[in-house]
């Protein structure tokens, strides 16, 4: 027995998130305008640095990432033996396939196909941004995609918890390896610092906050009051980060506006490819649709806050890597809503229920 009616997208996503691409585009314009006509703002902000880490940027990145980390329920990992086929598909695709297909597709387009259009050094920076996106599967938005495809709630919780734990250990080595293949050598200490700053610290702070709020006020308060109050912080942090980022690198965009489109090509292809592999594998393995859809969505979608943060930490605000990760944000919501439609229209090809 399964429901075949599709949830209304407006029930899962409000006006802001449905049109995220528009706000991101406006943030890019606002940032470029600030850099051109109010250069004093980025100049002043760039003075607040400690150990080569920009304090305003770090604060904005924490504002983006902390609310995602605070909602991770590690106890859900207890369900890791449930729906093993779904977890095998999603874990294999997320960590053994996705980072490498992203590398290959981005390398092929940015350094081969678009070689006459993008200067090699810049193309390598864009490739680095794509690598960071490929190594960071979605951790939070998948709940919304799962809701919109009538996904299995308990399975979605487990796959997110498992994915977050793997990300803690796998993100840095995968990024190091693929950057090495791209001849982009980043010192281990720099990667380790960015992992500590933008994964370990927000995760530890999130866990401590979660425990404290639940102890003080109960889990209902945490979930339905605290989390709702925290909800706007991530999108606000994201938009402000983008304004600041483009205030610093407006010149790059003004000189190469076409690059945004060129960067988007491999990112879009990668999204569809990863979804197709995971979804097709799940279909062939007779995984129920309520597991297959969220299982495929988590890999297709990216934890772009982490990718943006790592790009800024490793290569700087003015880097091509940071720009590439922002293009990921720009195309994310329209692409994923397209995949939601595909998933809902292909539901009939999956078994309704299965005891995988």
């Amino acid at each position: 027995m399964q429901r075949t009616d599709e949830p209304d997208i407006r029930e899962g996503m409000g006006f802001f998130e449905r049109y995220l691409s528009v706000w991101v585009a406006l943030a890019i314009v606002a940032g470029i305008a600030m850099g051109q006509w109010l250069p004093v703002v980025p100049d002043v902000l760039s003075r607040f640095e400690y150990a080569q880490v920009s304090i305003p940027v770090a604060v904005l990145i924490w504002a983006m990432i902390f609310p995602m980390m605070v909602q991770i329920d590690f106890a859900a990992i207890a369900g890791v033996r449930r729906q093993p086929r779904g977890l095998i598909v999603t874990t294999t695709i997320n960590w053994l396939v996705k980072p490498f297909t992203m590398f290959m597709i981005a390398w092929f387009f940015l350094l081969v196909v678009f070689e006459p259009l993008i200067e090699t050094g810049l193309a390598r920076e864009y490739l680095a941004g794509a690598i960071l996106l490929g190594a960071a599967p979605c951790t939070a938005m998948v709940f919304v995609w799962s809701y919109l495809t009538r996904g299995d709630a308990a399975y979605t919780l487990v796959q997110v918890s498992l994915n977050d734990i793997i990300m803690l250990f796998a993100f840095a080595p995968i990024v190091m390896f693929l950057l090495g293949l791209s001849n982009m050598i980043v010192p281990w200490e720099t990667i380790a610092l960015s992992v500590v700053l933008y994964i370990v610290i927000p995760l530890a702070a999130g866990y401590a906050t979660r425990r404290w709020v639940i102890t003080q006020h109960g889990s209902e308060y945490f979930d339905n009051v605290f989390m709702r109050r925290l909800a706007p912080v991530t999108p606000i942090g994201l938009i402000l980060t983008l304004v600041l980022l483009f205030a610093f690198q407006g010149e790059v965009i003004l000189q190469n506006p076409l690059h945004i489109v060129l960067i988007a090509v491999p990112l879009i292809l990668q999204t569809f490819l990863i979804f197709a592999i995971a979804y097709g594998w799940a279909m062939a393995w007779r995984v129920p649709h309520s597991v297959a859809a969220p299982g495929a969505m988590i890999g297709a979608s990216n934890f772009f806050e982490l990718a943006v943060a790592a790009a800024i930490a490793l290569f700087g605000l003015q880097s091509g890597a940071a720009l590439a990760t922002v293009v990921g944000v720009l195309v994310e919501v329209p692409l994923m809503l397209g995949l939601v439609k595909i998933a809902n229209r292909t539901r009939r090809y999956f078994p309704a229920e299965a005891s995988t």
């Binding site: 429901r3 998130e17 709630a153 308990a154 979930d223 806050e305």
Partner: protein, 101 residues
């Protein structure tokens, strides 16, 4: 009051009976990173702070406090799972709900 199609698996029931013999089944808000949110059905032992917000039914000696926001389109089963000493209740058969009011 209409009958709610909810069952509690044996292991979960034994665990709950060893405690307060009370269970909460409710939606927990999970925010998306692009904005948006979803209500994820969760089960936990205990009695809710504001009991008036819940529908209370008795299932096999357990007082089940059911969040009216839970979407019930098929029978629900509350199960206990454990992994590396970690114990966790979960709701089988429940759907995610819209996180929007």
């Amino acid at each position: 009051m209409a009958e709610v199609p909810i069952t509690i698996a044996d292991e979960a029931r034994a665990w709950l009976l060893a405690g307060e013999a009370a269970l909460i089944v409710r939606n927990a808000t999970r925010n998306g990173c692009c904005g948006g949110s979803a209500g994820v059905p969760v089960a936990e032992p205990g009695i809710p702070c504001d009991i008036d917000d819940y529908r209370v039914i008795e299932v096999d000696g357990i007082a089940v406090h059911l969040d009216p926001g839970i979407t019930i389109s098929k029978p629900l089963t509350v199960r206990l799972e454990s992994f590396l000493g970690l114990r966790h209740l979960f709701v089988e058969g429940a759907e995610l709900a819209s996180g929007r009011d």
